[in-house]
Symmetry: C2
Subunit: 710 residues, 2 copies
Amino acid sequence: MEQFVQWVPLVGAVGLVLAFLIYFNLKKLNAGTPRMQEIADQIHVGAMAFLKREYVVLFFFVVIVGALLAAFLNPQTALAFLSGAVCSILAGFFGMQAATKANVRTAEAARSEGQGKALLTAFDGGAVMGVSVASLGLIGVGLFYIFYGNPAQASIINGFAMGASSIALFARVGGGIYTKAADVGADLVGKVEAGIPEDDPRNPGVIADNVGDNVGDVAGMGADIFESYVGSIVATIAIGATLLPEGLTLLKATPEVGDESIKSILMALPLILAAVGLAASFVGIASMRVLKHFSPAAALRYSTFVAAGIFLLASLWIVRSYDVSNNVFWAIFFGAIVGIAIGLITEYYTSGPPVKRIGIASKTGAATNIIHGLAVGLESAALPVIAICFAIYISNDVAGLYGIGIAAVGMLATVGITMSVDAYGPIADNAGGISEMSGLGPDVRKITDSLDSLGNTTAAIGKGFAIGSAALTALALFAAFSQAVDASIAVRLKEMQAAAMELPAQWKRYAMLLAEGEAPLQIVVTNPSVVIGLFIGGVLPFYIAALTMTSVGRAAGKMVDEIRRQFREIPGLLEGKEGVRPDAARCVDISTTAALKEMILPGISAVVAPVFVGFLLGPAALGGMLAGATVTGVLLALMMANAGGAWDNAKKAIEKGEVAGEKKGSDAHKAAVVGDTVGDPFKDTSGPSMNILIKLMSVVSLVIAPLLMR
Amino acid sequence: MEQFVQWVPLVGAVGLVLAFLIYFNLKKLNAGTPRMQEIADQIHVGAMAFLKREYVVLFFFVVIVGALLAAFLNPQTALAFLSGAVCSILAGFFGMQAATKANVRTAEAARSEGQGKALLTAFDGGAVMGVSVASLGLIGVGLFYIFYGNPAQASIINGFAMGASSIALFARVGGGIYTKAADVGADLVGKVEAGIPEDDPRNPGVIADNVGDNVGDVAGMGADIFESYVGSIVATIAIGATLLPEGLTLLKATPEVGDESIKSILMALPLILAAVGLAASFVGIASMRVLKHFSPAAALRYSTFVAAGIFLLASLWIVRSYDVSNNVFWAIFFGAIVGIAIGLITEYYTSGPPVKRIGIASKTGAATNIIHGLAVGLESAALPVIAICFAIYISNDVAGLYGIGIAAVGMLATVGITMSVDAYGPIADNAGGISEMSGLGPDVRKITDSLDSLGNTTAAIGKGFAIGSAALTALALFAAFSQAVDASIAVRLKEMQAAAMELPAQWKRYAMLLAEGEAPLQIVVTNPSVVIGLFIGGVLPFYIAALTMTSVGRAAGKMVDEIRRQFREIPGLLEGKEGVRPDAARCVDISTTAALKEMILPGISAVVAPVFVGFLLGPAALGGMLAGATVTGVLLALMMANAGGAWDNAKKAIEKGEVAGEKKGSDAHKAAVVGDTVGDPFKDTSGPSMNILIKLMSVVSLVIAPLLMR
């Protein structure tokens, strides 16, 4: 087993090479008419400009935090942190490069070769992101594992996850603010005030809106999933490294295996599973060449099932052929199943009967549309949470805390394909925008519309999956955190006893608990400082949600002013005079500046809060805070993502004539547009920020854990 | 001390007599013109009809639950449960009687005697409710304390709190659905479709709307506060009864006091403080006779301060003159202060700068109005939660878990006056409605409008206070629950040891922890079943909020249909033809039926959930569930109450011309009306239901605690 784990970075490297091959194949495709290329260029330049400016801001943050880690912990952790940050940035960069090439080629494929080829082009664009995420994760964690993959040094690898998380927060929040400021701003002036269609080339905000799809839904989502992927692997390694003998016994297939050898197997297992998951994802991606002849929805779904099936079979074989108990396989199995279940529940709430309900409620106006949408969102949190509880219960029952970690790995191992399907959505959306702006006509638009509409469903499912995996990852990180504190208590206690120091009362208690083989850190809910932690943790997602929603509102306001100004001051623009073009670059700049400015406060809050609570109120309060933040963060994320998705589709249902007596432009439709606009920051800014927030706080706590008991 | 506690029921009885005196004085006042009396009669009849039908539904619930308690616990607990339910019902009944007499007399006082007298009349109407709540609480808990106020039997008193809580949930949820179904329905057809003013006599839903103010804001709020009041006292008695010797030592003024004697003092203290608080409230109520010459806002505020000041001085004297440590006073002091602080924070968010922000956001339409309103609501949870954490920290630091209980008592002891101020609001609102419907002219309407607008502020402050006190009460009940489980583990263990039974592993652990003087029930957050409890508890408030919001939407839809039908089918109604009256009784009946039907599911869920989790997953998971529900319940309650209040006042700010360039009827005003309508179920149905939910689940857990370890 330990031999194989040495090859994991190589698997990652092979994956990266394949991602490049997909990319170069994609680039060779026809990029369409000059007008199409011009528009695609504007989107590409805007997206890359945002990334560059974002990286400058992040550079300072990463260097400062890295220096602090080097000073207070050790240089190796700082190096891991920097590597995690760089890998996350690279994944985002590769994904965006591919997405901004694939969009126009998808439009061209729809124009000249039909739906099958267009689907495949958009999917391949997404696959570059999906494969890059998995490959960079394997290379990064794999390399650090080769150097530090032993129980004494494994905590260094945590730095890698923290690096990935830090970038993810800024990418998600910044990207979310960017995309929704552009979207809401362009819609409010273009669709509502000026009465011109979506993606109309006269609208100065349309390019920014299309850039936003890439910045938010490709780079932001990629960073989010990369963080979960890395976080689940790192947490499971950390849990394995600090497992006590009783825990190890539970996980052995036969009693004869030695504790040290099972421990090294358990630590290596998440990486090996992830490598196998990447290979399975390739098979899924390749199967799209055959599956493209099915309906697009079926093709995407089957390719995911193919990968998941292969992964589960392979993981059963791996677990059985080493000395690991079958129970561990069941944790993996139920992790993967629950991930799929949450996706299906999300699909129900964002395109099933609840959407109809919102559509009908729109008949009595915007207020009832909003009330019913919020109610659907609130209600939609229940089933996914029960599914998560089910995963926790089963995986803990069969394999203890290690089971929770490995279940998260099972859910995320085939990220190569799930992320491909996810990134397909914004590419299809962009392709539609480019078709409209370059006037490719209704036939082409019909193909891109159908691909785009499918993209909305995959995006909703992807969001559910992102939340579910974030929840399990956060819990695994939380378990790792408490074990890390326990370990550092044990170390410090030995030091104190060796120095024959008089133990304070608290430390006498720790000594007693350790002597009895119990965890010394008891995060007991009846302890008032834990209750305070729970409340502070619980309110943080509310606070971050408020910040990000206000940011979108503010940035959208600036966008509205600029678009109004251009319509007013550029002669002939609104009338569509030949050769008159809007100043799209100004709008791109407004979104970029606003997003970078507004991402700072939420980002800093999330990093500072655990440090502050941990050192001021102690590790038990910090544990309470993580638990509180995870609970309300998951609930708000589900509520916001699903309410947003349901509002969006309720509007679309009215447009398609699925709500009796209503159509585009009717009063009910106008009411539904209000809901859709409210849902925009819900589902694409504030909601997704929650995933990162809970993981980032957990991973920061895990990294600072050794310092808390000094 | 123990002598004095015998007199507590008598203090309550005196209070009740004074409440009757206020009521009879009120009834003697002039009830105005025949038309006014006719309208007031309709409101009175409608309100009483609702109460009667509600009581029939509750009768079955109370009898069934009482029988279950008698069968599984003991007949005394069942009796306490029935008494708590009856006292809660009586408090609601008295309050509604007074409120539906005071409304028309307030209108008449405004017409014939001016603002000062009108203020006093509305306030006296509220005072009947306030004094009844406190008096019935003292009589009920006081009597049970005389019989069972010893450590061995004190758990019987918990039944009283459970009875109060059960009624409260149904009263709050039913009342909340009633009032908002009527309000939203009447507004949607009357104001929006038909374009007639609020409270116009032609609108068939207006009587139901005015009945709703009484049913929801008087009876519902009264039951909520009664529950907190009783719950905080009962929880503190329970904590005192089960305190271990170390806890007792902390609370003695001098070490010489015996454990048993300090225990009985600590158990009696919450009742004595509540009795003193009622006396202080009387002084506050009486001081209104002098204070009415100030501005109404100042008068209401000062009367509250007078009562709070007297109460704090008296409680300092009580604590010092018995053998209780000064620390206990500080817990009382900070409890009272934090209650006031939360009220002030609420006032900031519902009438300060955030309201302006929402008003300005309305200029770009309903969507931005909603986005900013939600952001304000989400943000507004932060400071109150920090204040609650501060109260927990200080009170626990000075006096342990007992401190948390007694802080809640300190916050609630002067409920006689806070509830009076609170119930004043809906009476003033009703007085405005009656003036409009009976055409008393603009001068009278100006007085009632100013009293009504003040009522909105006091209602918002009252809601903040209700949430803060619910949070502390729930935490105190939670502490009492965990101590009760500990106590029953100790009892059961003794039985098992006496029978020389072989102890299961779990019970060996309990024995070890008890031997070390530790609590055997360890609700540890790293225990997966506690995590599952946290998640299930966390999602319950989301689920109940979804249920209640959907209920309001559904019931309002029925109301809309009926009002439209009447406008269509009753000739001359909409034109205002002389002698043509709408069929108000039909609308009252629709609201009543809908409210009673829709309150069942949320009510049953809240009672059943803790029983289900407790017996299926065990007491640790149940503890996790209570903690999770308290955190998200408090957060949602704050968010919903404050967002709702802010939307309401943003609309009013535009109407008053406080948002530059906008006025009643402008597009921004229409957008603000959407926000106001969304806010209605937020602040008056779903938000307030959270308070009860968290208290009810805690008290049900406390009552079933002895059964969980059998």
